[in-house]
Each structure stands twice: as structure tokens, then as C-alpha cells.
Symmetry: C2
Subunit: 218 residues, 2 copies
């Protein structure tokens, strides 16, 4: 619970292959989140006529009630999220504590890029059998933020221009990459891509980030 | 389970305020999904030191195992999703059967636009206390697809250009709008926005769609 990084890992101070996202830990909240992720996926796949689904609904409500009863006020919880735990534990793309996150694992490369391989499943579907275009945008926006950090910069997205070259398939390994390509004062320009294993380009992105960090709650 | 729309609802054949997304139904799979959505949110908020989290993890694994045991092969399930149930029941933005979906509810307006009001919570967080930029892109991409359908067009996203005017707050009602603005053969241009209740513009989007529908599984 105290993995707040004291030193930012960048291409200048860390080896090729440095994992920039948070690994799942063998702690109850990470195990529960991984299991919740399985439930989300399985609910979309399971037989709609399963007579036990009513009981599943009751059990999930009961679990949610229990977790709610043991939750602090949101304002208090936000302070802990941003000070105590490290920012990559709870985000919706890489966070092992966020059941919505695939999660995507990103490593920094010596050439300044970041890269991850991920297989996308049913909950993230857009066109039949393919990744939702907005999910591709979510993966790329997040990857560029991590790429900027690897290059030693921070910033909020100001413009995100996504190009869809062909439908991105579900159920196969996809390589997601990002790289900072220019800097000008508070502005940073970054590019990224999603490709299939044979190198076919599915989605590309160009984005502008501006260093205007949102203050942490306190 | 057989809500496949025989007639497409468009601005030309449906009244102002027509809800274009699927309402949750009082059936077990919808109740279970709503409960799973509560679990996802509560897992990010609950006390990390709760001694019962281990048991929660075990219960969630057990539920996932059960749902998996009653799930058909994915290929078979995809056929049912796209033929039997109606396409708006399972998508990651509006789908009542998808625990990742907020869900966003969109209504068609007589002026040709579509609109929804949604409050975004912790699982979709990017900067502290604010909506992840990629999640805003996901909401807008999906909303424009629905706007195109309301105008009587279909198409896959070819380009999505998102502008972030200011951070989009969590925990307050946001109005998401979309509208088709031009058509040229197989190309469609659409715009959308996310605003807070007082009308403050947070995110805007311009997008190009091309009519190249991905075939349904069969």
C-alpha cells in the first residue's frame, strides 16, 4: 500500500525493458479485482438461461454491499489513491486494482518508446469480433501518457487524433506502442500505434499534451 | 433475449426523446451485471485492510468459475450476441449486460442530435478527480455512432479527433451530445461534446465515419 514511487523511472535512468505499469501483487484486493475482471467477462459469455443467474445476482449484490460498508468517504479515498498507493495501481487501462483495466502492461525501451502486448476480449467489443474504436483510443491515450513519463515529461491530453486503418481483432495478441516525438516548452507531441502480431497496422494516433497537471487531492 | 430491432429508429420515423440505448430489464443477467458494476466500483473504494477481502476474492472466483462452466464457446456466443439480442445490450458504453458500461443512456432529438446525461465515477478516473481522457474519447466515439444511426447512417470510425478544453470532473452530471453534420457518399462527418451541467465545454470531437460494416458472425 505504500508503493508511491519516490524516483520517476525514465529512459535516462532505467534499463531497456523496465516495466512501467504496476504488477498485480499477491494481496487480497488484487486477487479480488482479478476475480471481478473474470466475472465481468464471463457475464457477457454465460448462458442467458442459466437458472442460477438469480443467485449470482444476489451474491454479487451482497459482495457490493459488504465492500460499500467498508469503504471510506470518496474524498478520503481519493487522497489515499493519489498519495499512498502509486498512480498506476488504479487507472482504467493498466491498474491491477481496477477491474475495468485489461490490464495493459507497458515496458520502456532504450530507444525512448514504450510497448505492451495485450489480448482484448468480449467486454471491449465494438464491431462484431473487433475492438471498440473508443477502447482503442483509450489504450492509445493512456500509452502515450506513459511514453511521455518514460521520456521524462508529464502533461494532460490536449488533442488526440486517432486513425483507424482496419478493424482491430479481439482474441489475438496486439502490440501497443507509444513514443514522445517532439517537445516545445509546455507542449509535447507523441505518436502511437496498435498492430497485430504480423505487424499489420490497425490504429495510429498523434497527440498533443500540455503540462498542466491536475493537483492531487489532499 | 430476442430484442433484435426489426425497424431502425431514426429521426425520420421516431418522436423526439426516443431512447436509442437498451434499458436494463428485470431479468437475472441484467441484475447480475448491475451488481457486478457495483462490485467493480466498490473494489476501488473499499478499505484495503478489510480482513474479509480474501473471502471476497474467493467468492468472486467461485462465481466466475460457475459462469464459465455455463458459457458456450465464444464463437457460438458471438453469433447469439449479434443475431439474437440486439446490438446495444452488450457494448462497453451503453450495454446493460456489460459491467464495464457506465451505462450511458442516449435519446434522439427532433433536431437530429442525440443526447445523454451521465455521472462518471472512480473506475473511469484519469487525472485526480477527473475523467480519463481516453474514457471521454470512448464515450464520444460511441455517441457519434448512435448519432449516425439516428440520422439513418451506419459506419465504422475512420478518424476521431478529440479536443480536451478542460479536465472533465467525476461525480457530477455530464451532458454528452452528438450529431451527424455532413454526408458524402460512403463518408459521414459527425461532431460531439461533453459539457458540465452549467454548460461548460470539457471535451469536443470531430470524426469521420466510413460505411464499411464488419459482417456479423454466423
Amino acid at each position: 500500500m505504500n508503493q508511491h514511487p519516490k524516483v520517476t523511472r525514465t529512459v535516462d535512468n532505467s534499463p531497456d525493458g523496465t516495466v512501467l505499469t504496476s504488477a498485480p501483487r499477491d494481496v487480497p484486493v488484487d486477487r479480488a479485482t482479478a476475480a471481478a475482471r473474470r466475472v465481468v467477462d464471463a457475464l457477457l459469455r454465460t448462458d442467458r438461461a442459466n437458472a442460477n443467474l438469480d443467485r449470482v445476482a444476489e451474491e454479487l449484490e451482497s459482495i457490493a454491499d459488504h465492500l460499500d460498508q467498508h469503504a471510506p468517504e470518496v474524498a478520503e479515498r481519493l487522497v489515499d489513491m493519489w498519495h499512498g498507493e502509486g498512480v498506476t495501481r488504479h487507472d482504467p487501462v493498466t491498474g491491477p486494482e481496477n477491474a475495468i483495466a485489461l490490464p495493459l502492461v507497458l515496458a520502456g525501451r532504450a530507444d525512448g518508446s514504450v510497448e505492451g502486448v495485450v489480448t482484448v476480449t468480449i467486454p471491449y467489443q465494438g464491431p462484431p469480433g473487433h475492438v471498440h474504436g473508443g477502447v482503442a483510443a483509450l489504450l492509445l491515450d493512456h500509452t502515450l501518457g506513459v511514453a511521455n513519463a518514460w521520456a521524462g515529461r508529464t502533461g494532460a491530453t490536449a488533442q488526440l487524433n486517432v486513425r483507424y486503418h482496419r478493424p482491430t481483432p479481439l482474441f489475438v495478441p496486439l502490440t501497443v506502442t507509444g513514443r514522445l516525438v517532439w517537445q516545445d516548452g509546455r507542449k509535447v507531441g507523441s505518436v502511437g500505434e496498435i498492430r497485430t502480431a504480423d505487424g499489420t497496422l490497425c490504429v495510429s494516433v498523434e497527440a498533443l499534451f500540455i503540462d498542466r497537471t491536475v493537483p492531487r487531492p489532499r
